[in-house]
């Protein structure tokens, strides 16, 4: 049965980000049709997708999720998480499922849970690549067969078609793998035949929770969708959404503030009108949605590119600070001389000057007098042992390398023992691409679970 309005409650920008519990209780009183929260994105870097792990701890995630499960039990509407466990791979979906089952068991709750995994096998992606079904987006890196084969994880970002299918199972809890931040919110209003453009637009505005209001840390917002537009209302006391705070959210983390590419089409908010509504809400109408054929899903992948070890040494001697670039060149020369003709010959060394230009590198416009500088030596090798061995090889130089032959042997400050730290695997994002598919509704499999 189609409803004329759909209310979606968004508790926070992501599970793990603080939210105001009273605001959440207020939100529940508004009788939402769905509670939807995002579980991650690529924002925290390639390690999570590369390793299939979550950024947040098991215990912190369990604590926050149990509050949302408690709220769900009060409303009996579905609770949906997209991009579970930061990266949304099958392992992180399983991790989230384990947490959910554990909470249900502790509360003696009988639940129907559905999981949606959005992983793609390297073989499948390779086939699609060979048949020209993988298309680059603007600014995409070059890809080839090796890169695809070396990915430790590849996921597609689920759209509304796939999320709707999970919602339609009447599950109490839906744990979805990688999904667009917006699809988890837009699915239900679109399913009920409400304004498609406004569903996507409202979803985009609320994807970071209360970031689109004057009190970002309060987390909770309520979206009401209908045939003409959407209304956003913050659920925390003394919190306001204004036309400015709402429109300004289109800027956040978006390369283009007007056009948003989504699975199956694109959203254009160029002509949207943002109006103050009641005391602290904003009403938005006038965005446009364009279907695109063939249907595409964005893909993400991370590949293992090496293993790293880092060493840090602190330089306080003004003579050395003054000649830091010379000293660094000397260190490098010494290192490359030592690894020549050895098993370490392919190790890459990078020396960054913390306190001088470690952040901006060759873009740094300012040079000021400094008291000290830390040299961070980063060793990258094709296994951890080689990265460690290289750091050990440079250790005596980091401690004692003299600028001039005839000066007394200097000693620099090591902040800890040993000065080398295993940094572990290094992953790299490798897709800014979409994949063309012809069966959007059945593209992913659902799994059913009971507690």
């Amino acid at each position: 049965m189609n409803k004329k309005t759909i209310k979606v409650l968004v508790p926070a920008g992501a599970l793990g980000i603080p939210f105001d519990k009273n605001a959440l209780i207020n939100g529940i009183k508004q009788k939402p049709d769905l509670i939807a929260i995002d579980g991650g994105s690529t924002d925290s870097g390639p390690y999570y997708l590369g390793s299939g792990k979550s950024k947040y701890s098991y215990s912190a995630t369990k604590r926050d999720w149990s509050i949302l499960m408690e709220m769900r039990a009060k409303t009996k509407v579905p609770l949906l998480i997209g991009t579970a466990g930061t990266c949304g791979t099958k392992t992180s979906v399983e991790w989230m499922l384990k947490i959910t089952k554990e909470i249900a068991k502790e509360n003696k709750e009988k639940l129907k849970i559905v999981t949606l995994k959005t992983d793609l096998s390297n073989k499948f992606v390779l086939e699609k690549y060979k048949t020209g079904k993988i298309k680059p987006l603007e600014g995409a890196p070059k890809i080839n067969e090796d890169i695809i084969n070396n990915c430790t994880n590849i996921v597609a970002l689920a759209g509304v078609e796939q999320i709707q299918k999970a919602i339609n199972t009447n599950a109490d809890i839906i744990i979805a793998g990688r999904s667009t931040d917006t699809a988890i919110i837009a699915s239900l209003p679109i399913y009920h035949g409400l304004n498609i453009a406004s569903a996507w637009h409202g979803a985009k505005i609320a994807e970071c929770g209360a970031l689109a209001t004057n009190n970002p840390n309060s987390g909770v917002v309520l979206l009401e969708f209908d045939h003409n537009g959407f209304t956003i209302t913050p659920m925390c006391k003394n919190t306001k959404a204004t036309p400015q705070t709402v429109f300004a959210h289109m800027l956040y983390e978006n390369a283009d503030p007007y056009i948003l590419l989504e699975p199956g089409g694109c959203l254009d908010v160029s002509n949207a009108k943002y109006k103050k509504h009641k005391k602290n809400s904003v009403r938005v109408e006038g965005s446009k949605w364009y279907n695109k054929k063939p249907y595409t899903l964005k893909i993400e992948g991370a590949r293992l590119v090496g293993f790293q070890t880092i060493s840090i040494v602190l330089i306080r001697d003004p003579k050395y600070i003054e000649s830091i670039d010379k000293w660094i060149d000397k260190l490098k020369n010494s290192f490359y001389r030592k690894i020549k003709n050895s098993i370490l010959v392919d190790v890459q060394l990078e020396l960054r000057k913390i306190g001088k230009d470690a952040t901006l590198g060759n873009l740094e416009p300012i040079s000021t007098d400094i008291n000290e500088v830390a040299i961070m030596a980063i060793f990258t090798a094709n296994n951890q042992e080689k990265a460690n061995d290289s750091a050990k090889l440079l250790n005596p130089d980091l401690l004692h390398l003299a600028l001039k032959k005839n000066e007394p042997m200097p000693t620099f400050a090591f902040p800890f023992s040993p000065p080398e730290i295993d940094k572990g695997p290094l992953f790299e994002f490798c897709f800014h691409h979409v994949i063309e598919i012809d069966n959007p509704k059945d593209f992913f499999q659902l799994q059913f679970h009971k507690t």
């Binding site: 600014g139 956040y252 983390e253 283009d256 990078e350 901006l360 590198g361 994002f429 800014h432």
Partner: protein, 99 residues
């Protein structure tokens, strides 16, 4: 000549996915916004970022008194040579810019 830090409320830079960075300049008032619209040259912005001019996207958004610049990042977020995962410090380069 005015530095951007004098005529903006704040300047924010942030990764927009792993392959792009976006910078939002929030101006103090309409006058500052229009002054900047006229006087910030894309060429100069490309120069401080050391990127090709045709890689720079620019949006002058009057309603918000915002000028937005987006550009593909030289090193993919979190890759070996990346120094600033979230592109947080690009904002500093804009603060010093004279217009």
């Amino acid at each position: 000549m005015k530095t951007l830090s004098k005529i903006t409320k704040y300047i924010r830079s942030k990764n927009a996915g792993p392959f792009w960075v976006t910078v939002d300049l929030f101006f103090k008032d309409k006058d500052s916004f229009f002054y900047a619209c006229k006087n910030i040259s894309n060429e100069e912005v490309s120069n401080i970022l050391k990127i090709k001019r045709n890689h720079l996207k620019r949006f002058d958004i009057e309603n918000l008194k915002v000028i937005k610049f987006s550009f593909p990042r030289k090193n993919i977020q979190g890759s070996r040579l990346d120094r600033d995962m979230h592109g947080a410090s690009f904002a500093i380069l804009f603060e010093k810019l004279s217009v």
